[in-house]
Structures are given as C-alpha cells and as structure tokens.
Symmetry: C2
Subunit: 205 residues, 2 copies
C-alpha cells in the first residue's frame, strides 16, 4: 500500500487514485485471473470506497479500458525488447516481434485475455480521455507489428495482406496455445513451437 493509499484511508483525498485503481486491476488479474477483476475489488485494494472510482472512470468499462491501454503499453515494450535483441534484417525482426507477442500472451495471460475480449459495441460509454489513451496505446502496439511486416508487402498482393496474415497467425496461436489451458478440443501430441509454424508462412512471402 502506497503513501497515497494510506492517506486515502484517513481522508477524502487519495492523491493518485486513478493510477492506484489501474495498478490494483493489474495485480488482481495477475493473481486471480481475468474474471476476478471487479470495480469494487479494485477500489478496496486501493483503499477507497466502492463509489470512489466514479470520479475517475465512467463505470467499470472505462476502468477496464484504462487497464487495457496500460496493457498495450507493456505489450509494445515486450515486442520492442525482443526486437532490440535480434539481428536487424527484416526476417529476424519479424520473428523477434512475434516471439514478443507470444511472450506477452503467456506472461500476462489474464491481461491479454482482457485486452482481446469481445469489445463492447458502444464505445461512447467510455470516458473520452480514456478512450483516446486506449486508441493511442493500441495503435502503438499494433504499429510494432505493422512496421515489422512492411518489408514483406508487395505490389503483387493486396495491400496489408502480409500484416493481416501474420497478425492472424500469431494472434490465433496466442489465443489458442498461448497458455497450457484446459481445452475441449486440441491437436493430438505436443503443440509445435510458433517458431516452427511461422516459417510455413514467411518462406512464401
């Protein structure tokens, strides 16, 4: 519990409640999974009453959006870190970025699940400043992948088709195999590593 949390326990002025709620949300999901995230639990962990978040977030949907924005920032950083360790040629960069994609989906499974859960149809319910932040951060993390795919695009194919193919494949793999989850249906035998799968695609690019 931070100094601000302790202050909140005494008074009506937390000091940095917005950030504390986001941090609480990230911690709760890390510990108990993506479905454990609730507004009241975040408020309790931040040391305030259940209605306090309303001043910072227009409902649970806005708090989740802020957490997802934070997730995209960590996501982009994870992919960039892998790219920084790889050779500069386009293929090595793409492989590294995909490895970062999968690393994030495994290490932060609950956050990844939250980030890619079905989007509410009406984004207008989200606090405008939070939505702007989310769009910015999501664009940033997606841009890492897009940039890595650019060298492989060609006038011979539909625009963006390589980035769509790569994103579909790595995202599908992350969703389906990113964690040794209990599954109702699965391929028999061990799942091949994505580094084996990706070349099936990229050799043709």
């Amino acid at each position: 519990m931070t100094q601000a949390d302790m202050t909140a326990k005494k008074n009506h002025h937390h000091g940095d409640l917005r950030e504390a709620l986001i941090t609480a949300g990230l911690e709760i999901m890390e510990e108990s999974g993506f479905e454990a995230l609730t507004l009241r639990k975040c408020a309790a962990r931040a040391g305030v009453s259940h209605a306090a978040p309303a001043h910072h977030f227009h409902g649970i949907i806005s708090l989740k959006a802020a957490i997802i924005a934070r997730g995209h920032r960590i996501f982009a950083a994870t992919m960039r870190a892998r790219a920084a360790d790889a050779l500069p040629d386009p293929m090595a960069q793409l492989c590294a970025i995909c490895a970062g994609y999968l690393e994030f989906s495994e290490k932060h499974r609950a956050l990844f699940q939250l980030m890619f859960q079905p989007t509410p149809r009406d984004l207008s319910a989200i606090t405008p400043s939070v939505l702007e932040e989310l769009m910015f951060e999501a664009g940033g993390s997606y841009g890492v992948l897009r940039t890595a795919c650019e060298p492989f695009e060609s006038d011979k194919r539909a625009p963006n088709s390589v980035e769509i193919a790569v994103w579909s494949m790595v995202h599908g793999y992350a969703m389906l195999f990113g964690e040794t989850e209990t599954r109702e249906a699965a391929p028999t035998g061990p799942i091949p590593d994505f580094s084996i799968i990706l070349p099936i695609l990229t050799l043709q690019i």
Copy 2:
C-alpha cells in the same frame, strides 16, 4: 413459447426444460450479444423460476458448456456444408472449410465469442454429462479442420504443424476480423478477404 413452456407456467413439470434453456441461451445471445447471457434470463425465457435450471445444470458454467457444445455442433455442420459444395481436391476442401469457419464466426458472432472465451481453469465444476458432451462436440468440430489439413502434413515438418498453422491463422482472422467490430487498433484500409490471405500460407505447404 412451446407447449412445454406453457405447461411449466402452470405446473412443476416443464417437460423439456433442459433443451428450452439451451435454446433460450442461444436466442438471448443472438439478440443481445454474448454478455447478455445469464442464468436468470434463460430461466425466465423458458418460463420457469430462477432456480429451476439447477436440476439440469450445475450452475451457469454448466449451462454455458451445454450451449457451447451446441455451438460446436452448428459449427461443424457449417464447415461440412461448405465442404460439401466444394471440389474434392485437398486445397479446395481446406479453403471451403476455412470459409465455413469464418461464416460461422460472422453469422453467430456472440456464440463464437462464448465458445472461445477464456476457459475456466476448473472444469470439474461442470456437470459431468455436459462436459462429456462438450468434449465430444468440440472434438467433432475440430476434427473437421484436422481432417482437411491431413493431406498437407509431411515427414519434413513437425507433426501437426500444418493444422496448427492453419487453425492459428483462420482462428486469429475470425477473432480479429470476423465481424466489423469497433476496434481500438486496426490495419489501415480494407481488410483483405481471408481467401487472399490463406494462399500466402498454403502455397508453401
């Protein structure tokens, strides 16, 4: 409302409540999206009290599992229907089955989302007979895709690597683009059709 529903409104014996609850769940999601699905709403639509489902399903998790099993049956049928209309060569069959995969994800978006939401870690809470049905139906729908990929597997690659690659790609595409959802981040310009994307992969197989 069926005859059985009307019977339930009068008495303590619905007649086919199990099926009515599953049907209610499918309808509610179709109308109001995947997050609108609740046990009480299903019970109300089936014309019984909120606690009636407990006799057939051990909690909301079991009712959802039953709905998901139904979803897999429709899913498999959709892919098989596409395959039935296609030429018998392996490539045409694979393309048709992927088209069926995407058709299902678009036409039954909420059901698709429910089917591939993060799985609860503890499946033992699910009614055993329901879990068995789910495993069977999920295995059946997955088997359609697996069978279509078999002609492309090779001793030169890791076992199952083609089916993993294809499943990752088509599932990722379905999750990301299967509906013109509101998205925080997206490629610029129109999304290439999956029939353009798939050949990037399959030409190399």
